[in-house]
């Protein structure tokens, strides 16, 4: 009887443990399925025109997404200009100056801001930038993405600053440097590799965001001059082309999807490998 029970327990052990292995395998294989589908479908439709030409009018085949690529770069630049300084300095505060309670509140709020759905950030940017001037603009899209950059930058900056050994700070202070000089000339340079990596990851994440752009940067079938006009962007193009009823647009949606995914994954791969895994949390 007890022998039977032992056999049962061992069998259950074997079954459950192999199921956990299968689960891990299944999840990882999804990544390769995604990569495979995009490379297969996107690779077929990607050509030089995609990078150099404007979208063709409805009904004509061909054309490219040059304006969307430039639009995405402009949006990312705005997001970086707005989000990175705020994130960096707030991170410095949390790691170097912060007291206990206020730091906890800031940290907690940062996590909550990070969890706000991107579409809600889009509404916020809309009410803030679009409503007063009554038209969509690149600037509004940049503001939306910039807000999303902040929380990720704060947390990674703080983490890397904390990883700088105390002895370095003490050394600088022992030489008579004031606190801010210690931070600016010793601590920040020591942590710069990690901080820059965190910033790149933050930008990579917002580069793929679609929802907050739908009613801020909107879209544009032509070039967008300056910062006051609506602009096309790669993620929004993937969306509009994928739900459109034209085969040629579907083809281009795959191509745009491949370019977008390649950008985002390469940025992630590069920065994470350069740094070693485990140092930057994705959530």
């Amino acid at each position: 009887m007890s022998r039977l029970r032992l056999v049962w327990r061992k069998t259950l052990n074997a079954i459950m443990l192999s199921l956990t292995g299968l689960a891990a395998l299944a999840v990882v294989s999804v990544l390769f399925l995604i990569l495979g589908y995009l490379i297969w479908n996107g690779g077929k439709s990607l050509n030089w025109d995609f990078f150099t030409k404007l979208p063709k009018p409805v009904g004509e085949t061909g054309g490219g997404m040059a304006n969307a690529i430039v639009g995405s770069l402009k949006l990312l630049m705005l997001a970086a200009l707005m989000g990175l300084p705020i994130g960096l300095l707030a991170g410095v505060y949390l790691a170097e100056f912060g007291g206990k309670t206020f730091s906890f509140v800031v940290r907690y709020t940062t996590d909550l801001l990070n969890g706000v759905p991107s579409i809600v950030i889009g509404i916020f940017a809309y009410t803030l930038v679009v409503l007063p001037v009554k038209h969509f603009s690149t600037l509004a899209g940049g503001v939306a993405l910039g807000i999303m950059v902040i929380p990720i930058t704060v947390r990674s900056t703080e983490e890397f600053l904390r990883a700088v050994p105390v002895t370095l700070r003490e050394g600088a202070m022992a030489l008579g440097a004031s606190k801010w000089r210690t931070i600016a000339t010793v601590v920040l340079p020591a942590a710069s590799g990690g901080i820059i990596t965190g910033m790149l990851l933050a930008l990579a994440r917002v580069a793929g965001e679609t929802a907050p752009l739908l009613f801020t940067a909107f879209s544009n079938r032509y070039w967008s001059d300056g910062w006051e006009q609506p602009t096309a962007s790669l993620p929004v193009m993937v969306y509009t082309y994928a739900i459109a009823p034209y085969d040629d647009w579907h083809r281009q949606a795959w191509a745009a999807g491949l370019v977008l995914l390649a950008l985002v994954l390469l940025a992630n791969l590069g920065t994470r490998l350069a740094l070693g895994r485990g140092t930057v949390r994705s959530v």
Binding site: G98, P151, G208
Partner: protein, 331 residues
Amino acid sequence: MSSAATIIERATPPESGPRALIRRLRHGDEVAHVLTLLFAASILLITSMVVYELWLNSHLSRAKFGWAFFRTGVWDPVFDHFGAAPFIYGTLITSIVSLVIAVPLGLAAAIFLSELAPRRISDSIAFLIDLLAAVPSVIYGLLGIFIVVPLMRTTIGPALINTLGYLPYVGRLFRGPNYGVGFFTAGIVLAVMVVPFIISVSREVLLTVPREQREAALALGATRWESTWKVVVPWARTGIMGSVFLALARALGETMAVTMVIGNDPKIAASLFAPGYTIAAVIANEFTEATGDLYLSALIELGLVLFLMTFILNGLARLLILATERGGGHP
């Protein structure tokens, strides 16, 4: 570091008056402190401004519909009549479906990574899963439209209807016409999107369980699985709950992928295969077309509802994860 700072502060005798102030400013510490403090405070400001703007701009809709907004199932822009019920229903149903799929899968994978796999393999798989979490949601939507929806129409849907559809009670969820788009399809796509978060957080929480717990269980004659399931997982359960809440918050607020596969039909249907709508999806689809202030205001109120739902869930999740990582699930 703080000890070094106090030593230096004590070494300089305390001075008062404008000269001392100038000296401190020249050293710049106070300036740097205040400057960074302002930037840190700006995060609080931005977050509260989000709430304020949503509240302010949803005023028209709140004044007109009141609490009935949540009970009304009609969404009719032509007659300016707006109710949130179908969207709240759709948001909850798709999120629940995704969790039913993602939680067992994610927890199992996290157990494998923390308990079984050698550290090196575990780390590289976790790395790949982090990459999966980085895939933009519009890409999931693209694959959803062109891969999952056809698959659902031809293979998965009929298979479920012919098996689970015959069950008592639960069966009604799996009956009815199958268009390929709908709650269930959205749930599948969402499951794939949130599973990396469950794995990543659960794995970290499981790794914080003390080694002695496992060894004690094994020494008492438990099998590997028994020590994992009866000792390690219960120890980490608060953190695992946290990861599930985090995943739920993600699923509730996810926009693009859901918009592309749910069918965008504001109806409350019992069948999981019926097309539906979610809060995020209706905002994405109708915001730019919203003519009339009341229409826009109703959409913004939906945004406020979504914001509050995710805000509360995220708040709980963070607390649970903090509690586990600090003290373990047991007192």
